[in-house]
């Protein structure tokens, strides 16, 4: 009798050996790419992770209960691997090209890189695999208990620990091992050479163990024939005719689905594949391995049934038969074999699932949360991924343990495994559609998988709790709310079927139906269509020479899709029709020639630029990996075109603005031109006026009429005065013209402004007195130096004073002149009590020829240029001349000049 402590110690030591193997395998695989670890043999052996403890123990139990049915579990994978050319090769090629990391990644990638679909698939996988994990826990627990036996001595340190505690211990141990094995580092391709090496080793161990037990059984049973005939005598005949039926078909379908879609099978077959040619070997070697595994199942089962006491668990025959024969060593070997099956499955399954969970659920969330932060250190992300994986492994094993905990009363192993198979089978239609059906759409696949999963949950997962939950048991009998056609094992009145068959029938039927119908009624996004053709045409594209994609074999459809998007439907259709007519085929059957592709590219280049067109067509024609980034880049290029056109628009807007400015300038010029006309007209008027008097009086004088001497004298004086006026006018015009051109006939120099003002007052004295005007000299500044010219400044003051005299119509005309120095400015105010300047004329008075009101005294010597000239003169002295509110009733002109600091 083996003691439990010894068995457990052996198991731990075995795991330690596995760990060393994995460690060495990793090192070897890294240093030597051509090592045997990359051989097809190791690859094939790693695929045999398919044979779990369910196979090791459960198949025997299954055979004991249902005869040959256990074979169907091997039949499905055999079909798939013998026909590896059909599905597996395609799957491996695509996954290599697209760097697929899991079945969730595969579906997500094919259906437009939808993360939502990946999350759905991951969640279903985690939930669906839970029973499978539980199965392994149960197998290990049962096997330990079987080996340790019922004796108190044998139980050793397990005394007082029930199967739940044992299972928990096993689960915890497995979690620890898996974390140590699978999450030491991250490989970009998600390949784990060390783990694969250990798995391959375990495959050898479990096969050897089972074969050893089989040989032993056949030996002590007296050969195959004896065993079979004895069994037949005792009524344990293998009735194949009974076994063929719906359950056969169901389990075979399920095993076909499982060998492709099970996360761990996908991992070893597709992700860990380092060479496509290995499939060629695995195509026959893996079925051979399974045949060897199943070779002794029937003899062991039959021999157990015939020799073991009634009521003993047939699942444990592989252990109990050697023990019954006193072969403890063989029993221990068999235990290690079963233990190998369980550990390899748990380790790989949780690694595969943890990759899915971390890649599709944890990382997107982490990346979203840290999107704004600097992620310069890849180290942080790596450790984050590892933590996520470890957490996922604990979660997955916990789920398995809880499933075990709730369903521990059910004793058979095989049905539990099939529940998981049925869950995973929900991915199969979508996977097949992904590989072969171009029109399968994201929405259809998502809906189909979701519905299939719900039906599975209702019809298969839920009923497995029947034995522990009275509520579930009631549900099975009455249906929810008494709706009998919703009974989980008799949906829509489909009664009388095997529960598994029933669940698989409804879930897969609805799944496939929805996938097909919804795909036909939904449209694909651009990315979906691109990915669909990348997947479906993976071989059609073949190995295309880099940069010479013109020789590639794009379908007319793909090209049309691109052309349509860029050129619009009408233009694209026209292009294709013309080409088809030239070649002489139906447009639908058009096989695009390199010439045509070149022409198409040029057409596209016309719309989106050469680079974008080339990139876009290259994607379609060579069928290269189209990452989201590249698509975004393409979109960016398009965006650049848009931006470019926006810039063009902006430029043309600027041109419009410039044109408007030119128009404005032109208008200004026209305005200036009309101002010039106006000026000339004014000059003409001002010249004509004195000329009129001169001419008229000259004619009067020439007529020699009856003029008296006084009249004659007066007319001659008038002519003389008007001549002087005319001269003065012309002088002023020339003066103003020069000033307006910016010329200055003088040099600004420090000048005594007060002296200039005094001189002006003196000059005007006669005029003031003639008018009878009162000149009030107010506050006066002391002699102040300004930057200017004395004569010109004097001219300004004379102009202002004489204006004040000439235009003052008051009865008692008054003028007040003040000057002060204030904050660096010399200010002269010349105010009068005349009529002032009307509001509307205040701006105009500084304009040329603006005279405002005529002087009441008839003095018309000015031509209206005085103020304009004065203002120009002051401006040339960097001062100002303006009209300000004055102290008297009339106008007040202010001259302001900068004081020169001496």
């Amino acid at each position: 009798m083996l003691s439990a402590d010894f068995v457990i110690a052996t198991a731990v030591a075995y795991v330690g050996l596995l760990f060393v193997l994995a460690y060495l395998g990793d090192r070897r695989a890294r240093t030597n790419k051509r090592s045997f670890l990359h051989s097809p043999a190791v690859y094939t052996l790693s695929i045999s992770v398919y044979c779990t403890s369910w196979t090791f123990y459960g198949a025997v139990g299954n055979a004991a209960r249902s005869g040959l049915e256990f074979l169907t579990i091997y039949l499905g994978p055999t079909i798939v691997f013998v026909g590896w050319w059909f599905v597996l090769r395609r799957l491996v090629r695509i996954s290599h090209n697209q760097r697929i990391t899991s079945v969730a990644d595969l579906l997500s990638s094919r259906f437009g890189k939808s993360n939502r679909l990946a999350v759905l698939v991951t969640c279903i996988a985690v939930i669906g695999i839970a029973p499978y994990i539980a199965l392994q826990l149960k197998a290990v627990t049962s096997s330990i208990q079987a080996v340790a036996g019922a004796s108190e001595v044998g139980r050793g340190s397990l005394t007082g620990i029930d199967d739940v505690g044992l299972a928990f211990g096993v689960a915890a141990g497995m979690a620890l091992f898996t974390i140590l094995f699978g999450t030491r580092h991250i490989d970009a391709k998600e390949q784990h050479h060390g783990v694969v090496a250990a798995i391959a080793f375990e495959a050898v161990v479990k096969l050897t163990a089972l074969v050893a037990v089989g040989v032993f059984v056949v030996y002590i049973g007296g050969g195959f024939e004896t065993i079979f005939s004895r069994a037949a005598e005792m009524g344990f005949a293998v009735q194949a005719s009974d076994s063929f039926g719906d359950r056969w078909v169901t389990t075979m379908i399920l095993s076909i689905c499982a060998i492709i879609c099970l996360p761990r099978q996908f991992q070893v077959t597709v992700v860990e594949n380092s060479n496509e040619d290995h499939l060629r070997v695995a195509g026959w070697a893996f079925p051979a391995y399974m045949m060897l595994m199943s070779l002794f199942i029937l003899p062991i089962a039959l021999f157990g049934l015939t020799t073991m006491p009634a009521g003993s668990n047939p699942d444990m025959f592989a252990l109990t038969l050697p023990m019954a024969a006193g072969q403890d060593g063989l029993a221990l070997f068999a235990f290690i074999g079963g233990f190998s099956s369980a550990t390899s499955m748990i380790i790989l399954e949780s690694i595969a699932l943890s990759i899915m969970v971390s890649n599709h659920i944890v990382m997107p969330i982490v990346l979203r949360l840290t999107a704004g932060q600097q992620r310069s250190d890849g180290q942080g992300v790596t450790s984050m991924v590892l933590v996520a994986r470890r957490f996922s492994i604990v979660l997955i094993l916990s789920l398995g343990f809880f499933y075990f905990f709730f369903t521990r009363d059910s004793d058979a192993l095989a049905p539990i495994g099939l529940i998981s198979f049925a869950a995973i089978a929900q991915f199969f239609p979508a996977v097949i559609a992904a590989l072969f059906w171009r029109d399968a759409s994201l929405r259809a696949a998502t809906l189909a998988i979701a519905v299939g999963f719900i039906v599975w949950f209702w019809c298969s997962f839920l009923p497995s709790f029947e034995s522990v939950s009275p509520a579930v048991a009631r549900l099975l009998v009455d249906g929810p709310w008494g709706i009998s056609w919703l009974r989980p094992e008799a949906m829509f009145g489909l009664d009388g079927l095997d529960p598994l068959t029933h669940a698989v029938f409804w879930s897969l039927t609805l799944n496939v139906f929805i996938l097909i119908v919804a795909s036909l009624f939904t449209s694909q996004s651009a990315l979906e269509r691109i990915q669909a053709s990348v997947f479906v045409d993976v071989f059609r594209r073949g190995p295309v020479a880099q940069g010479n994609f013109m020789r590639g074999s794009a379908t007319a459809n793909d090209l049309f899709f691109v052309a349509e998007r860029v050129l619009g439907e009408r233009r694209a259709a026209l292009l294709f029709e013309v080409e088809a007519r030239e070649v002489g085929v139906d447009p639908a059957m058009l096989d695009p020639s390199p010439d045509f592709i070149g022409r198409l590219e040029r057409e596209l280049a016309g719309s989106i630029g050469a680079a974008s067109a080339h990139v876009m067509l290259a994607k379609v024609v060579s069928g290269g990996h189209v990452s989201l980034e590249e698509v975004m880049q393409m979109a960016d290029e398009t965006q650049q075109v848009i931006e470019y056109s926006q810039q063009l628009e902006k430029t043309s807007a600027e041109l419009r603005t410039t044109a408007r400015k030119l128009e404005d300038a032109n208008a200004q010029l026209r305005e200036l031109d009309s101002q010039k006309d106006e000026f000339l007209s004014q000059v003409s008027h001002e010249v004509r006026t004195p000329m009129t008097s001169i001419r008229s009086f000259s004619e009067i004088l020439m007529e020699q009429g009856d003029l008296d001497e006084w009249q004659r004298q007066r007319f001659v004086r008038t002519i003389h005065g008007e001549s002087l006026r005319l001269t003065k006018l012309l002088d002023e015009i020339l003066d103003l013209s020069a000033l307006e051109r910016g010329e200055r006939a003088w040099e600004n120099a420090p000048t005594d402004a007060e002296a200039a003002l005094d001189r002006a007052i003196a000059v005007c004295d006669a005029l003031v007195r003639q008018r009878g005007m009162t000149l009030e000299l107010g506050q006066r500044a002391r002699p102040t130096m300004v930057n200017g010219e004395a004569d010109r400044l004097c001219q300004v003051f004379i102009n202002l004073i004489s204006n004040a005299v000439k235009y003052n119509t008051a009865e008692e005309p008054v003028m007040r002149i003040t000057s002060i120095v204030r904050s660096g400015s010399y200010i002269v105010d010349i105010a009068d009590n005349g009529p002032g300047i009307a509001k509307g004329e205040r701006k105009l008075i500084f304009e040329k020829f603006s005279r405002g009101l005529r002087g009441a005294n008839g003095d018309q010597s000015g031509a209206g240029l005085g103020l304009a000239i004065s203002r120009q003169i002051v401006a040339r002295m960097n001062g100002s001349l303006e009209l300000v509110p004055g102290p008297l009733a009339g106008a007040c002109f202010r001259v302001r000049l900068n004081v020169v600091r001496s």
Partner: protein, 126 residues
């Protein structure tokens, strides 16, 4: 006190010359020096003809002309426009407003006298 001619002219020496030559030709003269006074004079003095300068203070000669033509009682009064600008545009405006004659400064004395005589319908010099 009706007069033959109302002269509206703001340039004193021109006014003096006009007054002299027209008075010498035998007509009675009254004169004003701004637009308001001109319109007022036309209404008050009912002259047989108005000699009107365009560039008048307060109210331009054209405005005065427009007012005369708008007044039913004064509408028939002949108006001779004087302008120092001498541009075609002024002549056109004057004609549109209904001026009867147009003389450009500087004028020949005989030209003014002839124009007034023609407008008054007096063929022979008195």
């Amino acid at each position: 006190m009706a007069v033959d001619i109302l002269i509206a002219e703001d340039e004193p020496s021109i006014l003096e010359s006009l007054d002299f030559i027209l008075r010498r030709a035998g007509w009675s003269i009254s004169s004003v020096t701004d637009g308001d006074a001109a319109l007022d004079g036309v209404r008050r003095l009912r002259p047989r003809i108005v000699v009107l300068d365009v560039m008048l203070p307060k109210r331009s000669g054209f405005e005065v002309l427009k007012s005369i033509r708008a007044d039913a009682g004064l509408r028939e009064t002949p108006v001779l426009i004087l302008t120092a600008k001498g541009q075609q545009q002024d002549r056109r405006i004057a004609e549109e407003l209904g001026a009867d004659g147009f003389v450009t400064k500087p004028y020949a004395n005989a030209e003014v006298v002839g124009a007034v005589r023609r407008l008054l319908g007096e063929d022979a010099p008195r």
